[in-house]
Structures are given as C-alpha cells and as structure tokens.
C-alpha cells in the first residue's frame, strides 16, 4: 500500500483532533505563565531563595540568571511539547504514548497530593489544569485514537 492510499483510507478521528487541541491549550497557558513572570520580573526575582537568604539581596545578577534559566528551560519544554502535539496529529504512535505518559504522571501527582496531603483542587488552584490533563488522557487513549495511530504505523 502506498502512502497516498493510506492517507485517503485512514481518517483522523475527532478524538485525536480534540486531544491535540487540548495539548495546544496546555502549551498556551504555559506561555501565559512565562509572560506573567516577565511582566513582573522583579517580584519573581525576589522569590528566589538560596540557603534561607534572598539571593537578589546578595547577588542580583545571579538571581536574575537563575530565573532566566528556569524560564528558558520551561519555554524549551513547551516548544518540545507543541512538537509532540504535532506528531500526535500526524499519527505517530510513540508520540501518543509519550503524551499520555506526561498526562498520567501529572494526574497521578495531583491525585497523590489530593489524597495524601488533602490538597484542595478548585477553580482557583489547579482544577483547570487537572481537567485538561484528564481530557488529554481520555482523548488519546480512546479506541479511535489507538486505531488511527496503529493504522498510520501499518501504512508506513
């Protein structure tokens, strides 16, 4: 079977589209976090604490560098995550499995926090992000999404 045949035959199910859109939402909210930090840079620099002392008082440059590195790493993660979403969209099975693993780990951590530490998960705290993670996991683990990824792999 040729590639074009497979592309005509295997239709992308709504669950894959939905899952990818939600991954996009997750990346965009991450982008907003970065923007928020940059806008109120001094406030966030003041929160960096080393050995119980505020780092910006002893060494302002080092404090700014630490925050910059953290933001950069997070930004890189978001870019990679968007790339992962694109690969899920094109039907790569390993990308789907990795995306489901990320969502699962995040959900399990939230659940452990909720069940063991009695963390409150409300609209004001992490309810939205937990919801998005669970919806991503539901969408990408669905039978349709699995068949789609498998069929694309068989076609390649």
């Amino acid at each position: 079977m040729t590639r074009t045949d497979a592309r005509v035959r295997v239709k992308r199910p709504p669950s894959v589209l939905g899952g990818v859109l939600l991954m996009g939402v997750r990346a965009v909210t991450g982008g907003f976090v970065i923007l928020t930090v940059i806008v109120s840079w001094d406030t966030f620099v003041a929160t960096i604490v080393l050995n119980g002392d505020r780092l910006d008082r002893s060494d302002p440059h080092a404090a700014a560098a630490v925050l910059g590195w953290l933001l950069g790493a997070y930004g890189l993660y978001l870019v990679l995550y968007l790339g992962l979403a694109a690969l899920v969209f094109t039907g790569r099975n390993w990308a789907r499995v990795v995306a489901m693993s990320f969502a699962s780990v995040s959900i399990l951590f939230s659940f452990a926090d909720y069940a063991l530490n009695g963390a409150q998960i409300t609209l004001r705290t992490s309810l939205v992000s937990v919801t998005v993670d669970i919806l991503i996991l539901l969408a990408l683990s669905s039978t349709q999404a699995r068949h789609y990824a498998r069929a694309r792999r068989a076609a390649r």
Partner: protein
C-alpha cells in the same frame, strides 16, 4: 467461521503496546471518575454558577465518563460473537438483528430506493452541523445520519431511513452489514447481508449513558414487517424466506435502555430475482 476463529487467536497474542494501551485506557477511566467527583465538589461552592456547572457536569458524565466505564466493563463480559444483537460504540447490546438479505449491493440499493427509502449520510462534522441547524430551523433533513452500531466488530456499511410527516424526532431506519465471506447464520443459513431495523419514536436521554439519543419503539417486529412489506411491494419478484423462531421471542433492552419485544422470527429477502416472476414466500419452521 473465519471470524470466530480469528478473534480468540488475536487476543492471545499480547504485545507490550497493547498492554500499555489498556493501562492508559483504564487509568483514563478512573481519572475521569475522579474528575466528576472534583467537579461535583466544586459545584457545591457555587451560587448561580451552579446551573452552567451542572450542564458541564452532565456533558462530562454522559459523553466521557460513563461511555469509558461501559467500554471497560463490556469488553470484559459482553460476548463478541454473533448473538443476533448489534452493539453500540460503548459495547452495550444495541438494536436486534431482525432482517437478512441475499443479493448484491447494487440489488439491495436499487430495491430500497424503489421502496421509498433514503440513504443516510455518514456521520461527519458537516452532517452533524446540519442536524443542529435543521433542528433549530425546524427544517427536515431527509438524509440525516444514524448513530453507529457494531456487528462483526465494525460499524454498519450503510443505513436507510424514511421520514415521518416532517418530524425529525421520528423516523423509520434500518442499518445493513455485509456478512464476512463464508459466514452463516446460526442454523446454517447463508445470507449476504444482515440488518437491524427499528422505529425512532422520540428524542430522549439514554438510560445507560444519559446521552441525548433517539428512543426506539419497543415493537421492533412492526418495523421489520414494514421494511419487508415495502420492499416486496416495490419489487414483487423478491422471494421471502421466513425463518420462524430464529431466536426465541424475548423482551430486552437496547443500548439506550429502551425496551424491545420480538417474536424471534427472521425474514430473509432474496433479491436474486427472475424478472416478471412473482416472488414466493417460503416458511421455515423447526421440529415440533
């Protein structure tokens, strides 16, 4: 035969990928239940926001949580071989198989068109949107798609319907599946197509998933006989083999929780006709 032989051997060969998929499938099921609990807890603190939150909660429950739980459970305990019942996409038992056809696809399409049946569109984003607009504007949508039901592990090949007095809530409809090569009905009857015909009488909530769906009329035999009569009127050459008591008569429920009652007879329409010759009616009865 080939179908029943293939299924178990495919299930015994377990790949790591399949195990991982099952793990995520079940984990997502549990996570969605937790999400429902979280949303319910959150809603207690809301005043007037409760209303839209309740709608959100229902949508989550009906379209994500309950279908996933049903899928996990029905995969464990609902038989996957032919028992004369279709299955819904959640794996629940659906409408009864109450008609069979011998003949080619062309003969079947021609006979149904002649008998005044309209082929239903496939479910797509465009056709789904058209259902919404048609309902809102109270326009009729003759080719409105029907929901997917499964037999032989796949969705129906096509479906036909007849509108009732411009009422989108009511319609005659019948789904067709091509039988696998060499496959026989229980009892050894060879047919090319099996079908499930029911009459949609209203729009309501499914008992098992709470989804908005068509409710079917419980007397499925009336719809079966209507389909047979309409085709035999339009194509008088059609031969009819009526297998009496193909299944025992039963009362049951379909995937939406609607009751079904049937006498268990299975008519087989033979469309491989000789033109100009009136089709005979053959009745097959068991020993007694």
């Amino acid at each position: 035969m080939s179908e029943t032989a293939a299924a178990p051997s495919g299930r015994r060969r377990v790949s790591p990928g399949a195990v991982l998929d099952s793990f995520f499938f079940v984990l997502a099921g549990f996570a969605s239940v937790w999400l429902a609990v979280l949303l319910a807890t959150e809603s207690l603190g809301l005043g007037w926001g409760l209303l839209w939150f309740a709608v959100l909660f229902w949508a989550l429950l009906a379209y994500l949580v309950l279908p996933r739980l049903h899928r996990i459970l029905t995969r464990l305990y609902v038989p996957d071989y032919f028992i004369g019942r279709t299955r819904t996409s959640d794996g629940l038992l659906g409408d009864p198989v109450n008609l069979a056809v011998t003949g080619s696809a062309e003969q079947l399409h021609a006979a149904l068109a002649a008998a005044g049946w309209t082929r239903a569109d496939d479910v797509t984003l465009a056709s789904s949107w058209r259902i919404v607009t048609a309902t809102v504007r109270r326009r009729s949508y003759l080719r409105a798609p029907v929901s997917p039901l499964f037999l032989f592990d796949r969705v129906q090949d096509f479906a036909y319907q007849q509108e009732v007095a411009n009422n989108p809530a009511k319609r005659h409809h019948v789904r067709f599946w091509r039988c696998p090569d060499g496959w026989m009905l229980p009892g050894g009857h060879r047919v090319d197509w099996v079908a499930a015909g029911t009459f949609d009488r209203a729009v309501g909530l499914s008992l098992f998933t709470l989804q908005i769906t068509h409710k079917i009329d419980e007397h499925t035999d009336v719809e079966r006989d209507h389909i047979v009569a309409s085709i035999r009127r339009a194509v008088p050459e059609t031969r009819l083999v009526l297998i009496r008591d193909f299944a025992t008569g039963y009362h049951s429920r379909n995937g939406g929780g609607d009751t079904i009652r049937t006498d268990g007879d299975l008519p087989v329409l033979d469309l491989r006709t000789v033109p100009g010759e009136a089709g005979a009616v053959v009745e097959l009865t068991g020993l007694s």
